[in-house]
């Protein structure tokens, strides 16, 4: 096998991007950044917006650091478009995809990015906060969650605090290092399992019962996709998240 979790997650995110989409990623997002560059390299004509404020930055210019607030995400771009404008765009329903991550998630698509343990005013562990996910999730046509380490601490029956929540009437997917979940009728169900994993491993790392038994494998990255991932990310910034 000439790919791992990073490549399969990058590919799975990139395959969600369609022609004419407007797609956003935020800070601390090396995997989505690589996915959006891969989609560009594959020739998908979409609009790349990001927290650094660049629109369609030069995707052929490789990132050299893990931060997705760097100049790499606006150099060579066609316009300067700030975060305030991105939120306005999203709130008028014109953002097709937001790529977001989380610390905890429940089977109902409740996301916790605020704290675990204790109370809100005196938590055991204070987390960084939702970073706009409570605003973006309900107004974006499709929310793609990526989580590079799926385990029972993060995939929980109940979140300690609900920072943001999936809209059951909008598309919502969760792509992890093991599998892909999709929201159906307000609940997350397994969509596919990555080829190097299996149902037992997914269940062992999911804090709720998975009742499905017959599941397809996630389509592995093609040789072309793997070559283009290396082309857009030769410094392998995508591995920083693993």
């Amino acid at each position: 096998m000439n790919y791992g979790p990073a490549e399969i997650m990058v590919t799975a995110l990139a395959r969600e991007i369609m022609s004419r989409d407007i797609v956003f990623h935020g800070l601390a997002s090396p995997v989505p950044m690589t996915a959006m560059k891969l989609a560009k390299a594959l020739g998908i004509e979409f609009t790349f917006i990001n927290i650094a404020g660049g629109v369609d930055p030069n995707w052929g210019n490789p990132a050299v650091i893990g931060s997705t607030l760097s100049s790499n995400l606006y150099e060579g771009g066609v316009a300067d478009y700030g975060l305030d404008e991105i939120f306005d765009l999203a709130c008028t329903g014109r953002v097709d995809i937001s790529m977001l991550s989380l610390v905890q998630i429940s089977p109902r698509g409740e996301i916790n990015m605020s704290f675990v343990g204790g109370e809100y005013d005196k938590p055991k562990v204070r987390l960084p906060g939702g970073a706009g996910s409570a605003t973006l999730t309900p107004v974006t046509k499709k929310t793609l969650i990526w989580k590079t380490k799926q385990d029972i601490k993060s995939f929980v029956p109940e979140v300690a605090f609900c920072t943001a929540k999936a809209d059951p009437f909008k598309q919502f997917k969760v792509i992890t290092n093991l599998c892909t979940f999709v929201m159906e009728n307000g609940l997350l169900v397994l969509e596919s399992i990555h080829p190097y994993s299996n149902l037992a491993e997914v269940q062992a790392n999911t804090g709720w019962e998975i009742t499905q038994t017959d599941l397809p494998l996630t389509l592995a990255p093609s040789e072309e996709e793997l070559a283009l991932i290396e082309k857009v990310d030769p410094n392998r910034i995508r591995y920083i998240e693993f």
Partner: protein, 102 residues
């Protein structure tokens, strides 16, 4: 014409106890690090910090116990640099009130 220019040490001293301070930049990028370090050394108290994604600069003020309220959407560094230790210690001890927005 009256000049509004002054040195940074003089400007920092305009900040008084209990005031609300908007701190620009995102995480580790474009933050007023020198300004906030100088302010931290003045040992002001009960400051309220506001930012979309505050990081290093406001964290220094949290670590110095100058802040007692922070308003933010995301407060942290990125990736390998992790969470903001001053903010976490302050909020987890109950000394700083977290007002998280979206």
């Amino acid at each position: 014409m009256i000049s509004k220019l002054m040195t940074m040490p003089d400007a920092v001293r305009l900040v008084l106890n209990g005031q609300m301070l908007a701190v620009g930049g995102n995480a580790l990028h474009r933050t007023p690090a020198a300004f906030c370090q100088e302010l931290a050394m003045l040992k002001r108290t009960h400051l309220k910090g506001v930012g979309a994604a505050p990081g290093f600069a406001m964290d220094v003020l949290c670590a110095a116990e100058s802040m007692n309220e922070v308003y933010f959407g995301f407060f942290g560094f990125e990736n390998e640099y992790g969470l903001a230790p001053g903010m976490r210690k302050g909020i987890q001890s109950g000394k700083i009130k977290a007002i998280e927005g979206s």
